[in-house]
């Protein structure tokens, strides 16, 4: 009953970890973001995209237990 959460770039530095685990069955990305904003003060979550299992997802998409959620700050490769 775990959701795996991956953090990158400034999010990773802010939290001090590159991954989190959340005990939950299912919730929307918007609710997940809200939860983490409260818990870790990650206000910049408003401006990041989200991927579920390595595919970009919408705010309204539902994360299930066992899924891997990655928060993707504005990218800057190239």
């Amino acid at each position: 009953m775990m959701i795996n959460i991956l953090l990158f770039a400034d999010l990773q530095e802010k939290v001090g970890k590159d991954r989190l685990e959340l005990e939950a069955d299912s919730l929307s990305i918007i609710d997940l973001k809200e939860k983490l904003k409260n818990e870790y003060g990650l206000l910049q979550l408003d401006d990041v995209m989200t991927a579920i299992n390595e595919e970009y997802a919408l705010e309204s998409d539902i994360v299930q237990s066992g899924d891997t959620v990655a928060f993707i700050p504005p990218v800057s490769g190239g």
Partner: protein, 153 residues
């Protein structure tokens, strides 16, 4: 064994090896783009960079860009390698090679690829300036993007 066309690596990129991946008898044109670490940006001096990637997803997104190009410019072949980790000035961060029967498509598809990399590939650059460090967001210099960017699919 064929080398993968889309890769994230930690060692220096050898341009010739990327070019070899797209060479074909039907090609009359090959274009490459190399993104290199620039010393000065708007008056600020970079000492070195660090790139971080969400590796499996980054590889998937590079392959997705390849699919988009195959659809828009049929009969091109593309290979992309992005390096992550510590990069010094003039080091090559990314190489994009495109081959095509005619040159127009090779230029267009190549430029399209770098634009898309800067939109959808989960790679981040941390600038280590002379006077501090920052994670760089959004090289396209559009405003910071809204959640659920419409540009993804």
């Amino acid at each position: 064994m064929t080398d993968p066309l889309f890769e994230i690596v930690e060692d220096p990129i050898e341009v010739g090896a990327i070019i070899d991946k797209v060479k074909r008898r039907e090609a009359g044109a090959i274009t490459t783009f190399m993104g290199t670490v620039r010393e000065w940006t708007k008056g600020k001096r970079t000492i070195y960079l660090k790139y971080q990637a969400y590796k499996p997803m980054a590889v998937k997104m590079l392959a997705k860009i390849g699919d988009e190009i195959e659809e828009k410019w049929p009969n091109t072949r593309i290979a992309i390698t992005h390096r992550i980790g510590h990069l010094d000035i003039s080091d090559i961060a990314v190489v994009i090679a495109v081959s095509s029967p005619h040159r127009k498509a090779a230029y267009e598809a190549n430029e399209y690829a770098i634009e898309r990399i800067k939109q959808i590939v989960p790679i981040w650059k941390k600038e280590h300036w002379e006077d501090g460090e920052t994670w760089i967001g959004d090289q396209l210099e559009t405003v910071s993007y809204p959640s659920g960017s419409p540009n993804i699919k």
